[in-house]
Subunit: 177 residues, 4 copies
């Protein structure tokens, strides 16, 4: 499950429009995908996830929250992405090791797609850095986010760190509409 | 202007419902208040700000985005808050030095209000720590958020730090509905 | 055991001179105290620790590294500090809840002592903030330090966060010699 | 000038022995190099810096602090390093863009050298990640360090962030003696 603060930040960076076609690549139980669907009310959302039970949970969540514009796709990226309609907005939460191929496929489908991808390893961050450098620099950026939270321990509130996360925004040609 | 990532995080922590009565205390040009109004579609939002020109900008932004449920209040906290309807959700972005009085007033008006307050100074963080300790511990917490962003400098992307921000969530009696 | 990076930072902030009289309050197994002793070659170091087995380990470490100017004191702060010679430099690593009394005692013994104290809870940080505000502002400061380290997980290096630590430098009257 | 906390951390990670041969590559005004020289009392330190005035300042600092085992080398890396004796410990503070060549040269001179290198850009961090992956994983690591400091602004202490710094420790064959 994507942490709630991080999810808020990533959704904010995606700048989803009412008619956006969205992909959530490695969607897990769908917490980002469902939120995408609630924002892209006249658009469509494809939640791509290889674990069938997670895809099932996503569908249940979507139904419960009335997100009828969400479709789950059970499969692995990048293969499972080939058949999907070209996206305007893509969230890549899972550091699957195929980040380069996935981003290439997205930009081939739509050269002006907006991609938000998270990284928690040095290797994925390095890969996303290389991808970012191939894009026009104006609208792409990397953010490094560190969050600590208080945890009650006896009468004290100890600050407890979560692992840092890089959030890369990769904007293809042009800017987000 | 509240930074966009931080704004997303604070709004997410407020858990605004469709019918929430919201206050934005020290609302500046209204970026949080307008977003509150778009979420509390059947509720009301009061944006309290002492600078008239900022309150005016808030009204313009609200009009432009169709947030007809937003009302600006030009005045200083806590005085300007006395006359307002009891709030369900409150955002306190400005570290005005009156944080203790403001929180007391809010919880007197509605003992189960949910308050999200940010701090950028040691003193405000210490004050909010003391306030948090007087509330039931289950649903309150402090988060410390640090964000760095890439900045193009020649061929390199230098990571540039923003100052850390504490985000305190103070939940009165009960939990957010 | 104090983490090595943090220890380096605290020792650097203490600005120990060759003839400094040093206290390590809550010295644990003595990693800071022994380093103090190696720097204050013509001074003396008092390592105050309530657990006898930790004090014993400190003595062994001191002997092994030739730090003959280190003396362990088995007892609790602030009581165990009363009898000790006035200090020039004090490290307070343990957030014992008596931070206010300990700092008062130190500054009574030597009004120009230099104290470096760490905090990992909101409460200790708030207490140290209050103490810092009573001192001349020129030479005191708070630093908030966050460290993440790579950890091999399969072929990847995942960045793993350590909890953030506040390091307060409290300088009594005057500056460190 | 290298920030004092960061300098302490890097020196601690270098684990300099009394007889170490040390290089400081991009030594600036020599704050790391002089400290190296005070630790490697029976060893030698080479401070490599392209700006003559900075090298001059380094020499003055070394003289003033009695570090007679420090030699400045005015030139650019990696060229200026070719003629130097093989190092045991190397600090690379400057992200000169030649990080790959510099590390290769060092490990060719001494396959078991210990290198501590800092990075403030995504590109240098990516380059150091690639270099780290070619070394035995046991004794190498990356640390990401973020420091904020209090700054007096009126009656408040605002926490002010310094840019985050990666500190890579690259240990060639074997471990630091």
């Amino acid at each position: 499950m994507t942490k709630s603060e991080l999810r808020s930040v990533c959704l904010s960076k995606l700048k989803i429009a009412a008619d956006s076609v969205c992909w959530d690549v490695g969607s897990g139980t769908g917490s980002v995908a469902v939120e995408m669907a609630l924002q892209a009310v006249k658009g469509r959302v494809y939640a791509v996830e290889k674990k069938p039970e997670a895809a099932l949970l996503t569908e249940e969540n979507a139904r419960r929250l009335g997100a009828s514009n969400l479709k789950t796709v059970c499969g692995s990226a990048p293969e499972a992405l080939e058949e999907l309609p070209a996206p305007d907005r893509v969230f890549i939460g899972g550091s699957s090791g195929n980040i380069g191929e996935i981003v290439s496929l997205i930009l081939r489908k739509n050269p002006s797609a907006r991609i938000v991808a998270t990284a928690v390893t040095l290797e994925t961050a390095a890969g996303l850095t290389a991808l970012m450098k191939e894009l026009p620099p104006e609208n792409s950026e990397a953010a490094l986010i560190s969050v600590s939270k208080s945890r009650k321990t006896g009468p004290y509130n100890m600050m407890t760190a979560q692992n840092p996360v890089w959030v890369f925004t990769l904007q293809g040609k042009g800017a987000a509409r």
